[in-house]
């Protein structure tokens, strides 16, 4: 980890002038400032999180008891499909890009991203994509109802909403690739003097690796959905069995993108957790170098495990075995990370403010998600549990208590620096405990439902599943309500409140805490910091 020897953020003379942002809507439309763009990404992500969360509440309301209560099955399927797409591409990924925009330049000592205008464009592509995705509900037949994986042949048979979804995915992919190019070039070319790669904070490292993953797999998704489009409208039969095509090929291509995508959503979370835990344990991160190598190992292994999503399609036994063992191998670098986080806390002078609570919550619950992933990696077990609620429980433990808890913890951690105000700690802790309880009541019973054989993506179910579904829905409403507390806390923090200190967290040691005032000026590192 880097140690700064002196700060020169505001040298004497003209730099003392206030050089704030332009005013009005044009500030946001035309901005090339990484902090503004980071803020816009985070606000967009928050809006999409509540849109996708509302869909989740509707899904759980329908599943509260057996029978069809609120929706017809087609609309229910649209809800589960768009909920997945919105949460993945609209909430989780843009949130991490928002963090990257805010933090990467600050943590490497750069004045801004390498390509500020490209950065602006990357963000504004998200808006038409979101309009297309959500607007597809208004088309005849409703939004895409094939599941977020967009499997043919179902997706080839639906109406114009699928075309809107495909276009949205193309726009989101283009935005991700441009954002990734910007992040990689910033990290590789814009670092302050003395900021070597192995001195970079782990958040920057995780994003460097994530950005490479995005560039490698987003074009694969783009290719897959382009072929879907030509199957639908231009007479090709890539995936259409009626024309000699192969739907299984889509699954291979999709999951070659899809599994690295899982790590795209979790590696930056690892980076955030690796910043929060040392700050509140008041110790340096244990095993910094091994954390970097473990992150890279996870990223590389993510390219050779896609087949574990499709053990039931009838691959040869050797193929199944390869994907099973490769998947289990990922537990090794992931275990290194979990060990290092625990060792960081070991004998630390820990305090449990809200960011630390979410980080520890992440550590406990993400590990449960990892273990249930190992269960699903075992071919005969997966064949039994495939497409059941056990899978739903597993990936929500990874993506909600993993990615989302890290995002929320990161927002609590950095909001004092970003806004200049301290959030309400009591409300933060209330938010954490309600989230923790609500989340587990929501998703832990889904393991039982899956083990008992309840399939996913159904609006109605057999009576034997009634009780755990009711508990799951109650948990969902608690979890959903607790996010409103978060929203209130963050809005009131941004609007005012107790001033935050320059170094609000005693153990935080990256450049934004050690070198920059709180709140930060509009332009930072006008003179590059020198890192020892």
């Amino acid at each position: 980890m880097s140690t700064a020897i002196h700060a020169h953020d505001h040298p004497h003379g003209e730099a003392h002038e206030h050089h704030g942002p332009p005013r009005g809507i044009t500030r946001w439309l035309y901005t090339t400032n990484h902090k503004d763009i980071g803020t816009m990404y985070l606000i967009f992500s928050c809006v999409m999180f509540f849109v996708g969360g509302t869909m989740a509440m509707l899904i759980r309301a329908e599943l509260f008891k057996p029978g069809l209560q609120l929706f017809n099955p087609q609309f229910f399927n649209s809800l589960t499909t768009v909920h997945g797409l919105v949460m993945i591409f609209g909430a989780i990924m843009p949130a991490f890009v928002g963090f990257a925009n805010w933090l990467v330049p600050l943590q490497v000592g750069a004045a801004d991203m390498a390509f500020p205008r490209l950065n602006n464009w990357s963000f504004w592509l998200l808006i038409p994509a979101a309009i297309l995705l959500l607007g597809s509900f208004l088309t005849p037949g409703g939004a895409a109802a094939s599941g977020w994986t967009l499997y043919p042949p179902l997706v080839i048979q639906q109406g114009i909403s699928v075309d809107m979804t495909i276009l949205a995915v193309h726009l989101l992919g283009a935005s991700s690739i441009m954002g990734s190019i910007n992040i990689i070039t910033t990290i590789l070319n814009m670092r302050a003097p003395g900021m070597t790669l192995m001195k970079m904070p782990l958040f920057v490292w995780t994003w460097l690796i994530t950005a490479y993953l995005l560039i490698a797999v987003m074009p694969v998704l783009a290719g897959a959905v382009t072929m879907l489009l030509t199957d639908r409208h231009f007479g090709t039969s890539f995936f259409n069995a009626a024309g000699g095509g192969d739907p299984t090929m889509f699954m291979h291509i999709f999951w070659f993108f899809g599994h690295p995508e899982v790590y795209i959503m979790i590696l930056p979370a690892f980076g955030i957790i690796s910043q929060i835990l040392p700050a509140f344990a008041r110790k340096p991160l244990f095993g910094y170098a091994s954390m970097v190598y473990a992150t890279a190992s996870i990223a590389i292994l993510s390219f050779i495990v896609w087949g574990h999503h499709m053990f039931t399609v009838g691959m040869p036994a050797a193929g199944n075995l390869f994907f099973m063992y490769a998947t289990m191998l990922i537990a090794v670098p992931t275990g290194v990370k979990v060990f290092n986080w625990i060792a960081t806390m070991w004998r630390g002078e820990m305090t449990f403010e809200t960011p630390m609570l979410f980080a520890v919550g992440f550590l406990c619950l993400f590990t449960i998600g990892g273990f249930s992933g190992l269960v699903l990696a075992i071919v005969p077990v997966d064949i039994t549990l495939h497409n059941t609620y056990y899978v739903v429980a597993h990936f929500h433990y990874v993506l909600v208590s993993g990615a989302l808890f890290a995002i929320i913890g990161g927002v609590y951690f950095w909001i004092p620096k970003w806004s200049g105000h301290m959030y309400n700690e009591a409300l933060g802790k209330l938010h954490f405990w309600l989230s923790m309880i609500g989340f587990n009541v929501l998703f832990f019973p889904q393991h039982f439902l899956g083990l008992a054989g309840m399939p996913r993506r159904i609006p109605d179910y057999a009576l034997q599943f009634a009780e755990w579904n009711m508990w799951s829905s109650i948990g969902a409403f608690i979890f959903g309500f607790s996010q409103l507390i978060f929203l209130y806390n963050m809005v009131s923090t941004v609007r005012g409140g107790k001033p935050a200190a320059q170094k609000q967290w005693e153990g935080a040691d990256s450049l934004e805490w050690t070198h920059l005032p709180t709140p930060m000026p509009y332009h930072t590192f006008e003179t590059p910091p020198v890192i020892k």
Partner: protein, 40 residues
């Protein structure tokens, strides 16, 4: 004082990196499409 601009050398290196990465993304897309088209 406005934002500190990168040096000419930083700009040059960033541009080379960006073009290489964009080329990589386009190449992955095209290789996959051509492979599937030829296979079909």
């Amino acid at each position: 004082m406005a934002r500190r601009e990168p040096t000419r050398e930083q700009k040059r290196r960033a541009l080379v990196s960006a073009l290489a990465l964009a080329g990589l993304a386009v190449a992955i897309y095209l290789v996959m499409m051509f492979k599937v088209f030829v296979a079909k």
